[in-house]
Amino acid sequence: MNRGPWPLLVGLLLGVVGGLTYAWAIDPVKFVGSSPAALPSDVQADYLTLIASAYAATGDLPRAQARLGLFPGPNAAETLGALAQARLASGRPPSEAHALALLAADLGVRPSPPPGLTPRAATGAPTASPTITRTPTTRPSPTVTLTPGAPFQVDRRELECDAALRVPRIRLLVLDAAGQGVPRIEVLVLWDNGQDHFYTGLKPELGSGYGDFTMSEGVTYTVRLAESGALVTGLETEPCLDDAGGVYPGSWWLVFVQPPPP
């Protein structure tokens, strides 16, 4: 009896199943010589955090920028800022978030390195060591350092009715005595049964002294600058009216300013 193509098809099917099992499970391709950009996202996050920790220790921004250049992405500062927030939220050591915030803020306010400092490895060339051999400038400690001078004071507290802000936020700006934004300021947000913190400067496109925090309706917040004690209490979402008469929750706009020296 002629069974037509069935023996061929059965053999083909068994071959495909066996081949894929072998190629994917039993003896998969072992990748060697990968670049950091090929790492899984969670390992990339650890790698970026290490870049920031090394930067916090050395203060060598061109080297940190060259290392960040190994990762594709339009805005490293934003990526690091988001990573800092994520690490804080996941309970990682605050020093990690601080290092990320420090690098994000410094990337936002300092110029890019000259092209010659891009590592050879980033261009895909088959060499070699990172080519940057500049002597790093030593930074004594990665602790938060406030701008010298008088403590910050609350300068403005305004309800913002802006329908473009889709979720209510506490938005704040920290300025020094010269009116310049101050990055890396730790801001504590407290409410009845919880607290959180963030750093200014994580969204450099909105200003180096800018930071924000998403509010929940029905919760009353207190905002405090961690090391200066400036305090704003009783912040909760207030109803705003849009053009069509609809109600949406408003945001708060806070400005902290360092008084000029006497």
Binding site: M1, N2, R3, P5, P7, L8, L9, V10, G11, L12, L13, L14, G15, V16, V17, G18, G19, L20, Y22, A23, W24, P28, V29, K30, F31, V32, G33, S34, S35, P36, A38, L39, P40, V43, D46, Y47, T49, L50, I51, S53, A54, A56, A57, T58, R67, L70, S95, A121, T127, A128, S129, P130, T133, R134, T135, P136, R139, S141, P142
Partner: protein, 120 residues
């Protein structure tokens, strides 16, 4: 004869299927199971160790440095640092970088053995 023909067709199908699947699974669509830090190219791995040494210089936490080095793979942290020093010396890294690596290697050797953590 029909039996032989069926057997021949079966084996032809099996070989074709196997070859196609291996081509697909190894070349066209390889599964990425090994893209961890252990797969980093030597220069990147050396720079990773250098970053650990730099961060250690600022933080001073040897246990954290060990944890970060342990993420590189199954070898001991000291072995990774030694390999990094050898590569950095060969590639004429800056003296400061070599000193950082050497300090980390020295501190790893003088520290009491600790169980390595599994993640950085």
């Amino acid at each position: 004869m029909p039996h032989l023909l069926r057997t021949f067709r079966f084996w032809i199908g099996l070989i074709l299927g196997l070859a196609a699947a291996l081509l697909y699974g190894w070349v066209l669509q390889p599964v990425r199971v090994d893209t961890s830090l252990i797969s980093l190219r030597q220069d990147y791995r050396t720079d990773y160790v250098l970053m650990v040494a730099e961060a250690y210089g600022g933080e001073g936490e040897l246990s954290l440095a060990v944890q970060r080095l342990a993420a590189l793979g199954p070898e001991t942290p000291a072995q990774y640092v030694d390999a990094a020093i050898a590569y950095a010396s060969d590639q004429a890294f800056a003296v400061d970088d070599l000193e950082r690596l050497s300090r980390l290697a020295r501190d790893l050797q003088s520290a009491p053995p600790t169980p390595a953590a599994s993640s950085p």
